[in-house]
């Protein structure tokens, strides 16, 4: 009884997550710090609404609060897909304020930034468990994807049966390796792109319509 009920609930939850409803889907943009999440969120928001979501920076943990851009209407093949984009702080298991000192920051500012960053990561985890309908997982394709944070987060996303799109970002950089990301997560499709340069955004919008529409 319990097993069948579990199975039924699980299937109906997955189906409703994937296929139903006219309400905008809340799509969380997740990934490690400095993967280009905010650059991507801004690119999507600017392309379809004209507004940005938040400031971008090369200093880790620039985004320390989840930011939502509501009712982003994406048109593909004459069909409209409406999503709320949730740009989340980069997830990590450690924050050391002394790393911010290397970016010409005073100690007080670095300590404040690290405190806000830890609150932001906790908030991002909470959103992931409770409040998103799908995930865009952004990875820097110049970095090794075999990290514990990536392994854990993809596991958490899969355990909740959330649809997930994996992006290999920063393909404009010479050291980029999309294949390395495909090898790390072969159970998911990987879409290469450069959010900064706007390369391959059309394919991303096709995928968003396919996965979250």
């Amino acid at each position: 009884m319990g097993l069948l009920t579990d199975l039924k609930d699980s299937i109906s939850r997955a189906a409703s997550t994937l296929f139903s409803g006219e309400d905008p889907k809340r799509i969380g943009i997740y990934g490690p710090p400095n993967a280009g999440k905010t650059t991507l969120a801004n690119r999507i928001a600017r392309d379809w609404t004209g507004d940005a979501v938040g400031p971008e920076s090369h200093i880790p943990h620039e985004t320390r609060r989840a930011r939502r851009k509501e009712n982003v209407e994406i048109e593909r093949d004459g069909k409209k897909v409406t999503i709320d984009i949730v740009d989340t702080p980069g997830v990590t298991t450690k924050v050391d304020y002394t790393e911010f000192l290397e970016h010409d920051m005073e100690k007080d500012d670095a300590v404040r930034r690290s405190r806000e960053a830890t609150e932001g990561v906790a908030e991002a985890m909470h959103w992931l468990r409770e409040d998103v309908d799908g995930v865009i997982y952004v990875l820097d394709s110049t970095e090794d994807p075999f990290t514990q944070v990536n392994t854990m987060l993809i596991g958490i996303i899969e355990s909740q049966d959330l649809p997930v799109l994996i992006l290999a970002n920063k393909i404009d950089l010479e050291e980029s390796s999309v294949q390395r990301i495909r090898n790390a997560f072969p159970q998911h499709e990987t879409t290469p792109l450069s959010a900064l340069e706007g390369d391959n955004m059309d394919e991303l919008y096709d995928k968003i319509a396919e996965y979250f529409g």
């Binding site: 298991t93 985890m125 909470h126 514990q148």
Partner: protein, 129 residues
């Protein structure tokens, strides 16, 4: 059980290997407290059976709330990536009863450095504070 010596009294790094049986009847928060209390004392905690994805998510969240400048920088945690060949995991996931039996190593972020990690090998350097 004899009281374990405090690692700060000794010249090395204390490693606690915790069996699946010892963790099996603990709640999520009891597991997280057991891990974080050990790690904050400078221990390396090795879990025979690892944590579920939900427990890992809550471990990250609680760790973040405990980070404090010049005192605790967070944790380093290592497990193997999920096996891609494991077909049963899909059915398990569908039924919400995924087994996670993955050896998991957790330690203070300032004492463990991962040297290499792939699907079958984790190599880490453990140092004293």
């Amino acid at each position: 059980m004899a009281e374990a010596k405090h690692p700060e009294d000794e010249d090395g790094v204390q490693i606690d290997l915790i069996s699946a049986e010892r963790m099996s009847d603990k709640t999520t928060m009891e597991k997280i407290r057991l891990i974080l209390d050990g790690v904050r004392e400078g221990k390396i905690v090795i879990l025979e059976a690892g944590l579920t994805p939900d427990e890992e998510s809550r471990l990250i969240e609680v760790t973040m709330t405990e980070i404090s400048p010049d005192e605790f920088n967070g944790i380093e945690i290592e497990t193997y990536p999920k096996s891609q060949a494991d077909d049963s995991s899909l059915l398990g996931r569908l039924m919400g009863r995924e087994e996670t039996k993955k050896l998991t190593v957790i330690g203070p972020a300032n004492q463990i450095e991962t040297l290499h990690k792939d699907e079958t090998l984790i190599s880490a350097l453990v140092s004293r504070k």
